[in-house]
Symmetry: C2
């Protein structure tokens, strides 16, 4: 189970073997069943989380109980609610498994210790945060400006692998359009 993490770090960071061992020695492996929650609204996000296998989603709920998906987190990606984690305050969001998944968890104190001790981990973490900001901006621009058809098209191009793994209502909840609209768009494309 740990090996996937090492492959990922060797491919994406400048961390050497000794530091990779040190980082993964503090990780707590956890298996999540489909639909199981890693974090619920109102709880404090206590762990930095890396997805080894599977697929998770981060979502908020509105007063009417509807779900709005901020992020999908597939294998070889990180997930957490940054605000709740940084401030150790109750979260406004939920993180749950869409598929049976395997994750690695680092308690905040441990991960903070690693960041302080390993400058290459710190600069890698900063890169990830930056990329998150860039893609968040792009996603906001799309949410503000694109038609439902354009939103779906962009999703298909950005995440072709996700289409077969996600129920349609989750794609709709990610795009901010109704299931009815999404179904109409897909049917129109099939007819072409």
């Amino acid at each position: 189970m740990m090996d996937e993490f090492e492959i990922y770090l060797r491919a994406h960071s400048h961390l050497d073997g000794g530091n990779i061992d040190r980082i993964r020695s503090l990780a707590i492996p956890k298996a999540l069943r489909r639909n199981e929650f890693l974090l619920r609204e109102g709880e404090i996000c206590r762990y930095k989380t890396f997805v080894i296998k599977g697929l998770l989603r981060t979502f908020g709920k509105t007063a009417d109980g509807s779900e709005h998906i901020l992020q999908f987190s597939p294998e070889h990606s990180w997930t957490l609610d940054a605000e709740s984690y940084d401030r150790q305050q109750p979260s406004c969001y939920n993180i749950a498994a869409i598929e049976n998944s395997e994750v690695l968890l680092w308690p905040k104190a441990d991960f903070d210790g690693l960041l302080a001790a390993i400058p290459q981990l710190r600069s890698f973490a900063e890169q990830l945060i930056s990329r998150n900001i860039y893609s968040g901006r792009q996603r906001l621009l799309t949410a503000l400006s694109a038609t439902p058809e354009e939103k779906y098209q962009e999703f298909v191009q950005s995440f072709p692998d996700f289409l077969a793994r996600l129920p349609l209502h989750m794609i709709a909840a990610y795009l901010g359009i109704s299931l009815k609209t999404l179904t109409r768009i897909r049917q129109a494309q099939l007819r072409r």
Copy 2:
């Protein structure tokens, strides 16, 4: 002109007088006339920018030429296109003055030097980045889930000071709704 910046840093950071002097000694003051651009799509974002006075907006344009506003930057706030600045690549966004404004600019090399030399500046910059991520998430959730009425209501509550300073079409471009819809919402509220 510099004093505003010192007041801001003393109120919001743990920087001492010596470090504040050092930071501001490298700042280039610049005045922007209303509608003047600080950054145009296709240019590289070369400066970390602090707004002393006035109001700027960051926006993207879509193929049909319409403008979508990602951020308003009033006095005592920072602005830049992070992706273009970090990577020194052409920007996809524009930053322009809505009012006559005064800003301080730090060339990237100078600001990077300050961040490396002053740990308190670095931790202050990290705090700003984090807050940006939290508010970006909240804004995305609103963009995905809220009705036009709710979006306007949230804007009025979050930025009461902006209402009198912004033309309606810019509020609409920030909320991702049409000017017609915004006008209808405001008229309905006045009638109540």
